[in-house]
Symmetry: C2
């Protein structure tokens, strides 16, 4: 997604060779028009699947799950990182290790909102270690729903997230794939190549999550 790569080049701050800050337009201050474009891009990629719900995890996935939900015309669900006082009923949950914060936490969603009739698109802002995304995949599997794919806004291709998901046969698509970062420079993988699986390619190999 060229417009996204351009914004990353213009506004992204490279804090180290693994940490990229995009909080001026994606995940602190949010450019709503760009977020909507991102949602439409996910619709272009995954819209030929009969998706019933978009799933993400709070907080920074919400704006992109909402944008994808708008484009696909379906509701979205965001997994909670703490059990809320009002989340009293049965939940699906999965443990997640945050490498950024060096802490473990539990993500959970109410069992009422996901079940065997659902076809789910998982969306998040970053695909890096894949920890939170694998947790979301575990939740989809536990619910009996069918996972149609994972869509991420930015992929750090030098981390293991994509391979963890693809080992499970999950179609993964990232809108901007970073090969490497060095001071002042982000190197993208050409997104038109074969690395970014179209859903139908991987779905042939596996039933999903």
């Amino acid at each position: 997604m060229k417009v996204l790569e351009e914004r990353i080049r213009q506004e992204g701050l490279i804090l180290s060779d693994t940490v990229l800050k995009v909080d001026s337009f994606l995940n602190h201050q949010v450019d709503t028009e760009l977020a909507l474009q991102i949602g439409r891009e996910f619709q272009t990629i995954f819209g030929d699947q009969p998706i019933t719900k978009v799933l993400t995890v709070e907080a920074s996935g919400i704006q992109f799950a909402m944008a994808a939900g708008i484009a696909l015309g379906v509701p979205f669900i965001y997994a909670k990182k703490k059990k809320a006082v009002t989340l009293s009923e049965a939940v699906y949950s999965a443990p997640v290790h945050s490498f950024t914060r060096q802490e473990d936490y539990l993500i959970s969603i109410s069992q009422k909102y996901l079940g065997p009739d659902d076809k789910v698109l998982i969306v998040d802002d970053f695909l890096a270690t894949g920890a939170a995304l694998v947790g979301l995949c575990d939740i989809v599997e536990e619910s009996g729903a069918q996972l149609m794919g994972v869509g991420c806004v930015i992929e750090k291709s030098f981390q293991e997230g994509r391979s963890l998901l693809e080992q499970r046969g999950i179609p993964v698509h990232a809108l901007a794939r970073i090969a490497s970062m060095s001071p002042g420079e982000v190197h993208f993988i050409d997104n038109t190549g074969t690395g970014n699986a179209r859903p139908e390619e991987l779905m042939k190999e596996s039933a999903g999550c």
Copy 2:
């Protein structure tokens, strides 16, 4: 907002005389179409003001700040509840006490994204004790930006949030105002009356936050 009141009547779960659960359509699973309608309603109410940014706090305010940002054609910012690893620069912050979770936390936003040139609409899902909203108002004041109003999706009018904000001269508008709750029944305040201030009424009395 009649469509919202209807959904609350149909799907809201009253867990006690103070706790209302709306997580089937507002703040866990989200009806994206309803969220967009909510954004347009905020635009109808506050759109005659020259708003430059919408401000909320993670996580459950994000979908409504995004919807308001879409309708108003401006970016939104969500305050973080923890200082992120990538949020290394100077922040505005305010302490908040959560009555729901019985804990204290700090909300913060980067100083880069709010300043004296901004005219801010604060948006959140619930107006109850007002704790998080007062914290956001403190942040707007600290930044030198002008606070144009506070828009909430649901107000628990039997709690003190509205009066805390109005004492500071802040225009407050809630789309569904709950007078009281009893088992199986929600009683709304008529939203067409004088209690729900139009921005111009309160702005005459005070310069803001």
